[in-house]
């Protein structure tokens, strides 16, 4: 065992599976080393002074000591320069850690209570497994559908909060094949500790083949070893939604082509802001769609009659989800091509 692997194990650090992990750990060794040295040093000096100057008799007196200027400069300057050195080393690494290299491949990440969804710009979606190629920088563009989450891969030394209503980004370059755990690091409720997922690092050629398969929609499940990228997950769920809608009689009142009918059309409904009969404005999201099925009288869109029956107890959860996915898939062409605008910010320091 080399000295470095010994320190690595002594500190219980996880594998160094990303391109920056080694640099982060080196700073870690240095800083924890100086911290141990500093605190043990102070404790030992205090103990020595106690032993050397302990009260040997009840009436023992102390000597007058005034701190000298040199001493004062030393005790302020010493720690200050040490801490500034720490900062310079650390901040350089931080800028690097937060500057995705040009040409990194993008993956969109959506967090919600309590799962991770990964969407490849021109390919598949996957739930709780992020498949990436080895030795290729990956930029993650992340947003949350509900509360704040935090994307954390200990093996990569990467962490970034995932916020509702805005995108944050992080990047990594995996250098170790295999599975690395994703944890949610920001407390997000009851299922917080179970909001775990995996990064699956595969050789680049296998990754490219997988992605091509996904694009053709031909991938078979056993090829992928697990739940990765259930082919066209969104589409098949939406297709199921059509069947559910026909069975439940939704199309008697709702159109899917934009034409007016008894109820609002589903085309472009998702992400629209609707005005209610009482003047409130509601942004149509999954929650509103679900609520409208279960409690249709609560929010009536202006210009429509309150005639819809409740489907509480008539639709189960997967059927509701299928309907929601169907409505979400009914976007105009333009919207479909840009499901979410990528963030406007790029690296702040260019090499």
């Amino acid at each position: 065992m080399t000295g470095e692997t010994f320190v690595h194990r002594l500190l219980f650090l996880p594998p160094q599976a990303s391109s920056i992990a080694k640099a982060v750990d080196h700073l870690h060794y240095f800083i924890i080393g100086t911290t141990m040295f500093g605190s043990v040093g102070v404790a030992l000096v205090a103990l020595y002074l106690f032993v050397r100057w302990r009260r040997r008799s009840e009436d023992q007196r102390s000597y007058r000591v005034e701190p000298s200027k040199t001493f004062e400069v030393l005790v302020i300057g010493g720690p200050l320069s040490l801490f500034l050195l720490w900062f310079v080393l650390g901040f350089r690494g931080y800028v690097k850690l937060y500057t995705p290299p040009p040409g990194a491949m993008d993956v969109y990440v959506t967090a919600k209570q309590w799962m991770w969804k990964f969407s490849y710009p021109d390919g598949p979606n996957a739930i709780d497994v992020l498949r990436v190629p080895e030795n290729r920088p990956v930029r993650l563009l992340m947003t949350s559908r509900d509360v704040i989450h935090s994307f954390f891969v200990p093996d990569f030394r990467v962490k970034q909060d995932v916020l509702p209503g805005r995108y944050t980004q992080t990047w990594f370059e995996a250098v170790e094949l295999g599975r690395h755990q994703i944890l949610c690091a920001e407390y997000c409720g009851l299922g917080h500790s179970m909001m775990r997922a995996w990064v699956d690092v595969v050789p680049p050629d296998r990754y490219d083949a997988w992605l091509a398969d996904q694009r053709r929609g031909l991938a078979s499940r056993q090829d992928m070893g697990g739940p990765v990228g259930t082919p066209e997950a969104g589409t098949s769920l939406a297709r199921e939604g059509v069947r559910v809608a026909e069975r439940a009689g939704c199309f008697k009142c709702h159109s899917i082509d934009g034409s007016a009918h008894i109820g609002p059309t589903w085309l472009g409904l998702y992400h629209r802001t609707e005005v209610m009969t009482d003047g409130r404005r509601i942004y149509v999201d999954e929650a509103y769609l679900t609520k409208s099925m279960m409690d249709p009288m609560a929010d009536i869109v202006a210009g429509f009659e309150p005639v819809m029956p409740t489907f509480q107890g008539k639709l189960d959860a997967p059927e509701t989800a299928a309907l929601v996915e169907l409505i979400k898939s009914l976007q105009s062409r333009e919207l479909q091509r840009h499901p979410a605008a990528p963030p406007a910010y790029g690296p702040i320091f260019r090499r």
């Binding site: 219980f12 650090l13 870690h28 924890i32 911290t35 043990v40 102070v42 404790a43 002074l49 106690f50 100057w53 302990r54 009260r55 008799s57 009840e58 009436d59 023992q60 007196r61 102390s62 000597y63 007058r64 000591v65 701190p67 001493f71 004062e72 005790v75 302020i76 720690p79 720490w86 080393l89 650390g90 901040f91 350089r92 690494g93 931080y94 509900d146 704040i148 935090s150 954390f152 990467v158 962490k159 970034q160 909060d161 916020l163 209503g165 805005r166 755990q181 944890l183 949610c184 690091a185 407390y187 997000c188 009851l190 299922g191 917080h192 500790s193 179970m194 775990r196 942004y283 702040i348």
Partner: protein, 545 residues
């Protein structure tokens, strides 16, 4: 030569404890010393309650899966643990107990500037505690003590009473701060110049400034969350143009300075204890005094170091990183001066000094791991993991509670006229110190491994370290219970301490112990700085060694 306790005649005048004995005389008292004792009972009760929550949490973590309590109960319990320990124990602990008791004695005043207001803070504190605790039992907030939006505004659990309780307690904190500031400015006796103020008073002064300036921000932000939760205002809701991160900024603008509300008073205690038990004037008095004010000021400029991974800009992160280093420098100055006080001293190793040794090691280690976060890069893997948990427990338990216990042992004879048994004192110290290390060192390592905080269940690779940490928590609890037991015993059967068992030259010891209901018969006049022991001057040949 300092007076020895045996030679002193017993004080026959009724002291503040025996002057009046009815319950009404306690509940309606305006005597700062009785108010301090009431606070002592209150904060120790809440420390016990918060400690029981901690033990239940640690016991649950013996198993990586569901065990003992449900995830819901676990989430509520860590919220309870945080809220109780921060607002019901740590913030009022030293200022409201020892500050109230010692401040007027130290500056030669008969009482604080506003004695009625002082009593009011007790009742406001109790009212806030009752509302918060009722809310915890009734609705059970599950947000953690940080109340991050939008979780706190959308959680099905009832956070409103807890927010309201903390809001009310905030007024108690603010009023105590105002009271202390006015007292220090206006009630100093003749000769008590600013440069003769005991260092504990300097610590209280810095603390009070933070309490008065920062706590209103907490009140504001809690009200905003309340309004958002109850009336759906959209201040923190991005769907309606709100900003979820705004809450984090406002919250930490209070809560980072609040860390210094919790650490400046124990620093003041350490300054007193180290001088008394080294029988020597504080080394670098001005440096210690000014650094308290420096911490109070710069502490307001560092809140952004809690947001390094929140999407804050790289430039902001760098700025907050540098500013955080400055706070550390002020702390480092204090540490060197405390250690320096022992140099060429006459050091007596009694329980209070033992706690100071504990404080020194844990504070330096905990503090430097804090500076390590401010390098920004290392914050990324450590943020929101057990490393953070271990770091702030080193400061909050390691430093603050060690300081509290140092003060409790040092001033116990002052407050109650009886001494604690030294052997039990040291035994309890070693138990607490050992228990502390066994509890929290594994948590640093868990953080290195990547164990996130607030996890009900966890991957099995974290299991062994969790078990060690839980065992440590039992040792720690045993130590605290031992302290409670022998202090209760000493209250009635402890050895009579006499007016000044430590032969301390701290100003609070110039009154009888326990002091009379009236602090001083006349107006005391101060002619020198505190802890002015008879020192061996340069060139003088010491005798009597």
């Amino acid at each position: 030569m300092a007076p020895s306790s045996a030679a002193e005649p017993r004080f026959n005048r009724p002291n503040y404890l025996t002057a009046e004995t009815t319950i009404a005389s306690w509940l309606g008292t305006r005597d700062h010393k009785r108010i301090a004792v009431m606070y002592l009972v209150l904060v120790l009760t809440f420390f016990f309650v918060g400690g029981v929550f901690a033990l239940v949490l640690r016991f649950k973590l013996l198993s990586p899966g569901p065990f003992l309590i449900s995830a819901e109960a676990y989430d509520r319990m860590f919220t309870l643990h945080g809220v109780t320990m921060v607002w019901l124990f740590l913030i009022p602990s030293i200022p409201s107990v020892f500050g109230n008791f010692m401040l007027p004695l130290m500056i030669g005043a008969q009482d604080v500037a506003f004695p009625r207001l002082n009593l009011a803070t007790v009742y406001i504190f109790v009212a806030g505690a009752v509302v918060a605790l009722w809310g915890m039992i009734h609705g059970g907030a599950d947000t953690g003590w940080t109340f991050y939006t939008p979780y706190s505004t959308t959680t099905p659990s009832d956070v409103v009473p807890v927010l309201l309780g903390v809001f009310i307690i905030g007024f108690s904190t603010i009023l105590t701060g105002v009271n202390f500031i006015v007292t220090i400015h206006t009630l100093r006796s003749p000769g008590m110049t600013w440069m003769r103020l005991p260092l504990f008073v300097w610590g209280l002064y810095g603390t009070s400034v933070i309490q008065v300036l920062a706590t209103p921000v907490l009140g504001m932000v809690l009200l905003l969350v309340f309004v958002e939760h109850a009336f759906h205002f959209g201040i923190f809701d991005p769907a309606r143009g709100g900003d979820p991160v705004l809450f984090e900024h406002l919250f930490w603008f209070y809560s980072h300075p609040a860390v210094y509300i919790m650490i400046l008073p124990p620093m003041g205690v350490v300054s007193e204890v180290v001088a008394c038990f080294s029988r020597k004037n504080p080394f670098g008095y001005k440096a210690i005094a000014y650094s308290s004010m420096g911490i109070a000021f710069v502490g307001f400029l560092t809140w952004g170091h809690h947001l390094f991974v929140s999407g804050q800009s790289t430039f902001d992160s760098g700025t907050f990183g540098i500013l955080s280093m400055l706070v550390a420098i002020f702390s480092a100055i204090k540490v060197f001066n405390w250690v320096g006080t022992m140099y060429k001293g006459s050091v007596s190793f009694r329980t209070p000094l033992a706690y100071v040794f504990g404080f020194l090691f844990l504070f330096v280690f905990g503090g430097m791991t804090g500076v390590a976060f401010a390098t920004v890069l290392l914050d990324v893997p450590w943020h929101d993991t057990y490393f953070v948990v271990a770091h702030f427990h080193f400061i909050m338990v390691g430093a603050s509670i060690m300081g509290f216990l140092a003060g409790l042992h040092y001033w116990f004879p002052k407050m109650f006229g009886r001494n604690y048994p030294e052997r039990f004192g040291l035994t309890a110290f070693f138990l607490i110190f050992l228990g502390f290390l066994v509890t929290f060192i594994p948590q640093f390592l868990l953080g290195n491994m990547g164990m996130p905080r607030r996890y009900y269940s966890y991957p099995v690779r974290f299991h062994p370290l969790h078990v060690i940490s839980t065992v440590g928590s039992w040792l720690l609890a045993l130590g605290f219970l031992l302290v409670l037991a022998y202090l209760l015993w000493s209250l009635f059967w402890g050895e009579e301490a006499g007016p000044n068992p430590w032969a301390s030259e701290g100003f609070e010891w110039f009154t009888p112990s326990p002091p009379g209901a009236q602090n001083f018969d006349g107006v005391p006049v101060f002619t020198h700085a505190p802890h002015a022991y008879a020192l061996i001057e340069k060139g003088e040949v010491p005798s009597g060694r």
